[in-house]
């Protein structure tokens, strides 16, 4: 297999500049007070990866508890309360500290201004404020775990969340703060995309990654404030018993679910759209072919963002909303399939007759296509009333959203991390180990979650710490799968960190990408570009003329 750029890694590149954004200034303060989007992106990356590690440990503990129906962990009894805490911490950390902030905060912060040919984001200080809010939110969330415990699940459903002891108030306050971190990031990206595009770059000359992240940012700005006020109401209900969510004092528990999902369904798209955005970069680059249906993918991103606001009721089919609302929400939910399908078919058509090279990022992109197809199609079972009533709160739901959140978004995130790693660090990660880890990831993921579809359809409820003996083979299979995932991630961490120890070896454009971030050096200089780049060709222009430049 030929690497993308063959003839001597640095031919055609400018000599590597001595100063880049990593070594221009030194010391703690130069990082803590930086307004450079690249450094903020790196700090976000480190922070969110730590959260991923923490959430991952809890995931392994959950799976290990479920290895046998005897709910034992290393020979010790796991009580129902402990198990509740495990899955709450896993869910809350993964959703609020990892998936939502990871791709926007880390990869997008780093590459979005580069892709637009800009020096920085529109509001660099707001960007730093967003990072600090994330840190404060993370500290609050982790404190709430240490001093007490949260056992509500990441959804904080009332009335349980208003009556349980434990540090729910601190945890929800943490999520409130994290919400504002997310709003600031989104606000920054919208203004950046509107105002800081390179000369000559129109809306339809932007890379599709930017379209995806723009749609994400719109949701971040429009949906997150509602979650913020909902969580304030929840805190006040717990502390002052204001009588809005707790039926004992005149409130309406279903109202909480409406408020919560009005944010949290769009939040699902805050998670998946960035994954799709990355895939739109990987597929044309590693197929060496102009993307098929550029405008269709761009419009699909925006329409997914809009549709995400009108489908929240499908989380509540059995929660006691009116029959009419249930039918309407079910019908609206099917709309989601249209832009999702448009994207998948356009990616596949891009690959058709392309010159595909199976390097590590592309392996993750292809895994994404398969896992997202499974995750998306099983979503239709859950959007359909007759099947959902049967499948609600079973492992089928667990498997479905892991295929979308983890199988799609996290897969895309790891693919994107490999894709931009040379740009961020100036080092090429090991291709051999990368491919092994990617294959292990795909195998481990399916081994963990495919059995859960079967478990769910046979009636295994979610969030239970024990189960009937007949489910044990499938549960054990799933637990072994989680070990394969753990092994894959451990390998990935090891070879990525190992690559940092060797001298900088990455060419400016290792994969033959056509977007602007590949026009600057690896790693980029502090001001991103020596001269203001000007748009010369449309993105993904792989016609012979453009390749030869």
């Amino acid at each position: 297999m030929e690497p993308a750029v063959t003839s001597g890694a640095r031919i055609g590149d400018r000599p590597r500049p001595k100063k880049n954004y990593l070594n221009e200034t030194k010391g703690f303060k130069s990082w803590a007070l930086t307004v450079d989007h690249k450094r903020i992106g790196i700090m976000y990356l480190v922070g969110t990866l730590f959260a991923f590690l923490l959430g991952g440990i809890f995931a392994l503990l959950v799976r290990l508890t479920l290895l046998t129906p005897a709910h034992k962990l290393f020979g010790l009894q796991v009580t129902a309360e402990t198990y509740n805490r495990f899955f709450t911490l896993h869910g809350a950390i993964m959703v609020f500290l990892f998936i939502i902030p990871s791709i926007p905060g880390s990869l997008t912060n780093f590459v979005l201004p580069l892709m637009l040919g800009a020096k920085d984001v529109a509001f660099p200080r707001l960007n730093l404020a967003s990072l600090y809010l994330w840190i404060v939110g993370a500290i609050m969330a982790i404190t709430s775990m240490i001093v007490g415990a949260v056992d509500t699940g990441w959804t904080f459903y009332t009335p349980y969340s208003t009556t349980t002891s434990g540090t729910v108030t601190l945890m929800t306050a943490a999520v409130f703060v994290l919400g504002f971190s997310s709003i600031f990031t989104g606000l920054n990206f919208i203004a950046t995309v509107h105002k800081l595009r390179a000369p000559g770059m129109g809306w339809f000359d932007m890379p599709l990654f930017v379209w995806g992240m723009y749609s994400t940012a719109v949701i971040q700005v429009l949906a997150t404030p509602v979650l913020g006020i909902t969580l304030v109401l929840l805190m006040l209900e717990r502390v002052f018993q204001i009588g809005i969510f707790d039926s004992r004092i005149g409130g309406d528990p279903v109202l909480f679910q409406h408020f919560f999902w009005f944010y949290s369904h769009p939040a699902v798209y805050i998670m998946i759209l960035p994954g799709m955005a990355i895939i739109s970069e990987l597929i044309p680059t590693f197929s060496r072919k102009t993307i098929f249906g550029y405008r269709a993918i761009a419009y699909a991103s925006v329409s997914l963002a809009l549709v995400s606001f009108i489908v929240w009721g499908h989380h509540m089919f059995v929660a006691g909303q009116s029959q009419l609302a249930t039918v309407v929400f079910s019908a609206l939910t099917f709309l989601v399939a249209i832009p999702s399908g448009v994207k998948v078919f356009n990616w596949l058509t891009t690959m058709y007759q392309g010159n595909i090279s199976l390097e590590t990022p592309m392996l993750y992109a292809i895994s994404f296509l398969m896992l997202f197809a499974i995750g998306g199609l099983t979503g239709i079972f859950l959007g359909t009333l007759s099947t959902d009533v049967h499948l609600t709160d079973t492992y089928f739901v667990v498997a479905h959203f892991h295929y979308v959140m983890m199988g799609s978004t996290v897969t895309a995130f790891i693919g994107g991390l490999h894709y931009w790693w040379p740009k961020m660090t100036g080092r090429m990660p090991s291709e051999k180990w990368g491919r092994i880890a990617a294959v292990l990831w795909f195998i481990g993921f399916n081994a963990t979650f495919l059995p859960q579809f079967i478990l769910g359809s046979r009636g295994m409820p979610r969030r239970y710490y024990n189960y009937l003996d007949q489910f044990q083979p499938l549960h054990a299979f799933s637990t072994v799968g989680s070990w394969i995932i753990g092994l894959s991630l451990f390998m990935t961490a090891a070879y990525l960190l190992a690559s940092l120890r060797k001298p900088a070896d990455a060419p400016d454009n290792p994969w033959g990408g056509t977007t602007m971030e590949w026009q600057t050096s690896s790693p980029p200089i502090t001001h991103n570009f020596e001269d203001q780049p000007v748009l010369e060709h449309e993105p993904y222009d792989y016609r012979p003329k453009a390749v030869a430049h």
Binding site: P225, I229, F240, I242, F259
Partner: protein
């Protein structure tokens, strides 16, 4: 310079959208709860009114509405003065706006004190003893919970506004703003109008329902 102004303004508008959505959640919550307890909400709102010429009238609310409307006008004049290089006038209108904001908060304080005295308080603190709004009946405590949350959140925004306006007034006195550069005045102006506008919606919602 022009681009920076445009970018800042876009950012401010986006921030305003998040503010409106933040209050929007509370407005929706209020609407749903009013729908659940229509009679209780109307009875409770009578307690926001005072006696005027022998008839109940939302005196404090009405005065505060006028105060904020006038402050929006002084704000507009301040922005206009900054745009046309009139330093003294800018400072004067900004200070006037601050004073009006303070008047608003003083009246709010008086109004809150009455509620505290009557134990018309949110949630578990609700302890009104009069015959018409008996403690323990669902709805009354919820009404006052929303009343204090929404006017309280609005009051916090007024406080923040006073801080921002004071900062502007100091910078204006130093002569920072010219017809070339008046972005902060313009942006705080936008913010202040939103704070004003939210009150324009709060006033009929709480004081004029029937």
């Amino acid at each position: 310079m022009e681009q920076q102004f445009d970018t800042s303004k876009l950012g401010m508008w986006l921030f305003i959208v998040t503010e409106i959505l933040l209050f929007g959640g509370l407005f929706v919550g209020f609407g749903l709860m009013q729908n659940r307890y229509p009679r209780e909400f109307i009875e409770a709102h009578e307690h926001l009114k005072q006696e005027l010429f022998g008839r109940p009238f939302p005196l404090y609310g009405a005065i505060n509405t006028i105060v904020l409307l006038v402050s929006s006008w002084t704000m507009v004049m301040g922005v206009n003065a900054a745009q046309t290089d009139q330093k003294k006038k800018t400072v004067r209108y900004l200070v006037l706006t601050i004073l009006l904001a303070c008047v608003f908060l003083v009246i709010k304080y008086v109004e809150y004190s009455h509620k505290f005295a009557d134990h018309l308080l949110p949630g578990m603190f609700y302890g009104h003893q009069a015959e018409d709004l008996i403690k323990g009946t669902h709805g009354y405590a919820t009404f006052f919970a929303f009343y204090f949350m929404m006017t309280g959140l609005h009051g916090i925004h007024v406080l923040v506004g006073i801080g921002l306006l004071s900062w502007l007034a100091m910078r204006a006195r130093r002569g920072d703003f010219t017809s070339e550069y008046y972005t902060p005045v313009d942006l705080v102006g936008l913010y202040w109008h939103v704070v004003d506008m939210i009150w324009i919606y709060l006033f009929p919602l709480y004081y004029l329902i029937s």
